[in-house]
C-alpha cells in the first residue's frame, strides 16, 4: 500500500469521523482528523495524522493492513491547554516511510482505546505511557506498572509533577 493510498484512507477519516464537541471540562475543542504531508528530511516522518482518540484503533488497523511496524508510543502533557497528546510512530519495513498518528485527549479524563490487540508490541508501550502520564488505555490486557515501582502512585512526566 503506497503512502498516497494511506493518505487518502486517512483523509476519509475526516469525513466519517464525528467531530468531538468541547465538553464542560475540556477548555479547548479537541481537533478532529487532520492529515498533513511532511518532509522526511525536515521532520523525520512523511505523514502527520491527527485523529480523534477513539479512532486510534482504526488508524492502527489501517496501518497494520499496510504492513507497517509500530515503533513507539509517546505521551505528551500540554498542561497549558489541559490536554494530553498520544503519538504513535509507524514505519514501513519496505519503503522506510513513516506515519505519525496523534490523538489529543482531555487531561481530566485521559482515556483512549488500547491498540495492544492489533499490535501486541503496543502492550509495553502503553503500560509505559500509563506509568509516566496516567493515561488509561481501555481494553488493555493488563495495565500495571512497567518501569515504575509496583506501588507508584505518581506520574513523573506530568509537567506539574515534583519529586
Amino acid at each position: 500500500m503506497s503512502l498516497e493510498i494511506i493518505k487518502a484512507k486517512f483523509s476519509a477519516f475526516a469525513v466519517h469521523g464525528a467531530p468531538l464537541t468541547a465538553g464542560a471540562d475540556t477548555p479547548a475543542a479537541l481537533p478532529v482528523s487532520l492529515v498533513v504531508e511532511t518532509r522526511h528530511a525536515v521532520k523525520g516522518y512523511d505523514l502527520d495524522v491527527t485523529v480523534p482518540p477513539e479512532r486510534v484503533t482504526d488508524a492502527a488497523r489501517l496501518l497494520d493492513e499496510a504492513a507497517f511496524m509500530l515503533e513507539a508510543i509517546t505521551g505528551l502533557d500540554w498542561i497549558a491547554e489541559q490536554q494530553f497528546e498520544v503519538v504513535y510512530d509507524y514505519t514501513s519495513l519496505t519503503t522506510g516511510a513513516r506515519v505519525t498518528v496523534r490523538a489529543r485527549l482531555p487531561r481530566a479524563t485521559p482515556e483512549l482505546p488500547s491498540i495492544a490487540g492489533i499490535y501486541p508490541g503496543a502492550n509495553w508501550h502503553e503500560r509505559e505511557t500509563h506509568d509516566f502520564f496516567g493515561i488509561v488505555f481501555t481494553g488493555h490486557p493488563g495495565l500495571t506498572t512497567l518501569l515504575l515501582p509496583e506501588d507508584a502512585v505518581f506520574h513523573p512526566l506530568l509537567k506539574d509533577f515534583s519529586a
Binding site: 515503533e71 513507539a72 499490535y119 501486541p120 512526566l157
Partner: protein, 372 residues
C-alpha cells in the same frame, strides 16, 4: 499401584530467573511458569534500573543531557549519542561538516563491531562455552583503545556534539584502525572455525526459538533480530542518514528465523562494518570537525521531529518536542532492546528452559537501555 488408571495432573511451578542472574546480563527478572522442563509462561519484569532518563531530558539543557545518552546502551553508546545529536541538529537546523560526518560513521561502526564482539562472547557463555569470550574481548579491547584515544572514554562516550565531534582524529588513529581492520578480518575464519562450525553450538542454535518476520513486525523487534527473520530492514539503507549512502555495504539477512540466523547476521555485520570503516577512511575529507556558529545556549525552533539511527541492537529513535526554550519539552527515547524483549513472552512459550536462555541471549539485550 497401577499407573494406567491414574489421571495425569498437569502441575506447574513458578521459577524466578533473576533479577540477579548472569544469563540476564543485567538486572532483569523473568517470572517463569514451568511445566517440568518446559516453559508455560515467561513474564519479563523490568524497571529495576529505571532512572527516568526522559524526565532528565526535560529538566536540563540540551548540552547538559549529552553525557546521559551514553548511559543507556553502554555497550554501543555512540549510537544513542548519534540519534540524540541528530534529532537536536534536525530541529535546530545545524549542518554538520563533512569530515565530522565521516568521523561519526567511522567511530559508530567501530562501536558496532565492539558491541557485536562482546555479544558473541557473552552469548557463548550463555550456552556454556567460555573460551570464545577470551578471544572476542581481546579484539574488542583494541577497538576500545582506539576509541579511547580519540574520544577520551572507553564506554561512556560524550564525543558527538551538536554540529560535529569534539576532537579530530589523527594519523595514529587512522593507522591503528587500518591495522585493526586487517587484524579482525584475519580472525574471522578462526571464529567461524571454532564457533560457527562447532557441533555443540550448532545443536544449541539451529532451529531453536524461531521468531517469525510477522512477530518481529507486530512487536517492533528490529536490528539483527528482524534481519535474522529474513527482513532486510536497516535504517542506514531505508532512511539514509549521515554519509552512509556514500558507502557500499550489504545488509546481511538470514531467513531461518532461529538463534543461528541471529548469530550469523551479527557475524556478517561485523565484516560489513569493517568495509564501511575502510571506505570512510579512504574517502575521509579534510576541513573542520565542528560547525561554526553553533550557539552556546541552544534553542531549537518550536515543533517536533523524529530521528532514527541503526544501533547495534536495532532501531534507536528519538522524538524531540521543543517549545523554543533551552530545554526539551519532551524527549522520547525509543530503545531497540525494549521492543526486542517484549516478544520474549510469546516466543518462549513451550520452549525448554535452556533453549529460552539461548533465545534471551540471541536478542542481545542491554538492560539499562530497556529501563532507561
Amino acid at each position: 499401584m497401577s499407573y494406567g488408571t491414574q489421571s495425569i495432573h498437569r502441575e506447574t511451578f513458578v521459577l524466578n530467573l533473576g533479577p540477579q542472574h548472569p544469563a540476564t546480563h543485567g538486572v532483569l527478572r523473568i517470572k517463569l511458569t514451568m511445566d517440568g522442563e518446559y516453559i508455560d509462561d515467561a513474564e519479563p519484569v523490568i524497571g529495576y534500573g529505571h532512572r527516568m532518563q526522559e524526565k532528565m531530558g526535560e529538566n536540563r539543557t540540551y548540552v547538559k543531557y549529552l553525557p546521559n545518552t551514553a548511559r543507556m546502551d553502554y555497550v554501543a553508546a555512540l549510537f544513542n549519542s548519534h540519534g540524540y545529536v541528530c534529532a537536536v541538529e534536525r530541529l535546530a537546523g545545524i549542518t554538520v561538516p563533512e569530515r565530522a560526518e565521516f568521523i561519526r560513521v567511522i567511530t559508530a561502526e567501530l562501536n558496532r563491531v565492539a558491541s557485536h564482539l562482546l555479544w558473541v562472547g557473552a552469548f557463548l557463555i550463555d550456552l556454556g562455552g567460555f573460551t570464545p569470550l577470551l578471544y572476542t574481548f581481546d579484539d574488542r579491547e583494541q577497538i576500545l583503545d582506539l576509541l579511547e584515544a580519540v574520544t577520551g572514554a572507553r564506554l561512556t562516550f560524550c564525543y558527538y556534539r551538536f554540529g560535529g565531534v569534539c576532537n579530530d582524529i589523527d594519523d595514529e588513529f587512522i593507522a591503528g584502525t587500518r591495522k585493526f581492520i586487517a587484524h579482525l578480518r584475519s580472525r574471522m575464519p578462526m571464529y567461524h572455525a571454532f564457533i560457527t562450525k562447532n557441533i555443540i553450538f550448532r545443536k544449541r542454535c539451529e532451529e531453536i526459538a524461531p521468531i517469525s518476520a510477522e512477530t518481529c513486525r507486530k512487536y517492533g523487534a528490529t536490528g539483527p533480530v528482524m534481519r535474522g527473520s529474513g527482513v532486510a530492514y536497516d535504517v542506514r539503507k531505508l532512511e539514509p542518514y549521515s554519509v552512509y549512502p556514500r558507502f557500499a555495504f550489504n545488509v546481511p539477512v538470514y531467513p531461518q528465523c532461529d538463534c543461528m540466523a541471529r548469530y550469523l547476521v551479527r557475524m556478517d555485520e561485523m565484516v560489513e562494518s569493517l568495509r564501511i570503516v575502510e571506505q570512510a577512511l579512504e574517502q575521509l575529507p579534510g576541513g573542520p570537525v565542528m560547525a561554526e556558529k553553533v550557539p552556546r545556549m541552544l534553542k531549537p525552533a518550536k515543533g517536533d521531529c523524529y530521528f532514527n539511527v541503526e544501533s547495534a541492537r536495532g532501531t534507536f529513535g528519538v522524538r524531540l518536542v521543543s517549545d523554543g526554550t533551552d530545554k526539551a519539552y519532551r524527549l522520547k527515547l525509543r530503545s531497540p532492546c525494549f521492543s526486542n524483549l517484549s516478544l520474549f513472552q510469546e516466543c518462549s512459550r513451550g520452549l525448554l528452559l535452556p533453549d529460552a536462555l539461548a533465545l534471551l541471549g540471541s536478542l542481545d539485550l542491554v538492560i539499562p537501555d530497556i529501563d532507561r
